[in-house]
Amino acid sequence: MSFYDIFKEMDYGDIREALADKSKNDVITALNKEKLTHDDLLALLSPVAAEFIEDMAQRAHEITRRRFGRTMGLYTPLYLSNECTNSCVYCGFSIDNRVGRVTLTVDEALREAKVIHDAGFRDILLVSGEAPNIIGIDYLAEVISRLREHFASIAVEVYPLTTEGYSRIVEAGCDGLTVYQETYDEVLYEKMHPKGKKRDFIHRLETPDRGGAAGVRRIGVGALMGLGDWRVDCAFLAAHASYLTKKYWKSKISVSFPRMRPAEGGFKPLSVVSDQNLVQAITALRIYLNDVGLVLSTREGAELRDNLVRLGITHMSAGSRTNPGGYLVEPDSCEQFEVEDTRSPAVVAKRLTELGFDPVFKDWEAV
């Protein structure tokens, strides 16, 4: 069994209708519950919940403080390559974009990692496009095993691997995996991903299952906000995270809310997700899933991020470069998307302290 079995029982159109049918009473009922059902979550994601946004924020804040304390996990991405065989219409790395392609050698990756380490990070996320012939398992395993002595936690956000592939990199020292489904709308998904292996919706959907089966400790899922209907995608995302929490009960599950950003290729988001929408998504998921990590990247601006840290977010990236070599060895290579919060890690950490959060650079001890 995989998440696909649950996915098949859910229908994108039906959920959209259910969301539209929710009443204020449904929202009030949901907010008065200790443990919410998926149907209660729909009430919180529905348009009528907008006027309860302050109540939702207070509740999300209280739950997060109780479950996670006054701390904020910090990490930063290390882009290994912008080579990609896919043609995702919204992504700067799409094979259809005529941009300079860069792949770091293992030594270059280590030099980049040193900059990240010197900034204080012990939690690093390795990112690449889907180019298994260039960024193969052997390459990933080598980078990971070389980074292992310097970083307490190493996660990957590369292309979907097989269970065996995940086992290899877990063995090398990888403890985290992030993979975004982008959208749970199968029809739209097909349009957005016209070429490459990523066309296989189910293969991507089952990626967290393969990682979980391989014993990856931290599994992150997400949907691209601005592609499908964000309310419906969040409903699926929550179901996905809930399923993973139960099935891979030894793994910590997290959810990301990447909003679409300008990128090479000039794709415009299909729908506008406002700040208020983003807050509704974050707080609804926190109220429904008390224990999942909620992750916020530098796609969002400094001011908004400073406000969102109190609403349920548990992990943030900081000082990110989204191009391979961006920290040192190839600063002008093509980036995946434009970073909005350009503050240095030190400035972000200082700001978190002012806001009453302990910035946590290390929260794991690889053994």
């Binding site: 304390g69 006054r70 009960w249 929260d363 053994v367």
Partner: protein, 262 residues
Amino acid sequence: MYKADNDDILVINGREFSSRLFVGTGKFSSTQAMVDAVKASDSQMVTVALRRVELDNPQDDIMSALAELPILILPNTSGARDAEEAVRLAKIARAAGCEPWIKLEVTPDPNYLLPDPVETLKAAEILVNDGFTVLPYIHADPVLAKRLQDVGVHAVMPLGSPIGSNQGIKTRSSIEIIIEQARVPVVVDAGLGTASHAAEAMEMGADAVLVNTAIAISNDPARMAHSFMLGTVAGREAFLAGIPAKRKKAAASSPLTGFLRD
């Protein structure tokens, strides 16, 4: 003013503690807030998650701040999913110069952090044989507590309710049995949400309590830490004084039939 008897000393594996409140260091808004709370708690035993600190870095914020205080740092194996990982973490701490005391936590479920009894017992035996002073975090299971004492642990730490839940002592009847039958100190750990919960544990006859979340997330952690100190002392004093048994009927302090001699 009445002065309490200060010979009331808690002894764990030969080491003496005059405070019966242990505190944790997670979830605080800053290292300074944590240090202020530890000081206000008067605690002499402070637990630190190995996952959070860089043991090979002498400038590590948390460890260097705690090194200044008159406390025993009790490293914990938080995050370990099985016995093997817990044992490795304990050895890393000892190799880095920590005293060989370990709060054994084997919590494969990263959400409720409930302890795995099978792996805890396995790890406890290995660590005891390796010379560690072992304080295992367990569910309030009297038989497991006995099995752990059989392999030589130096205290047991049953949970009052799920960690971080602030629900107080929901496992009361099992903890009572553990206390009644224990050959080592019993430290009630996890779930204590306010000072009266600490007092309740001590009145039940627990040897100590461990508190973290309730202090760390309160609006004034140092003040909350102080309140837990007072609650712990109050409960212990009541226990030592001998708590009168509860009766169904009122018992007058000046009986009406006192004149009936013989």
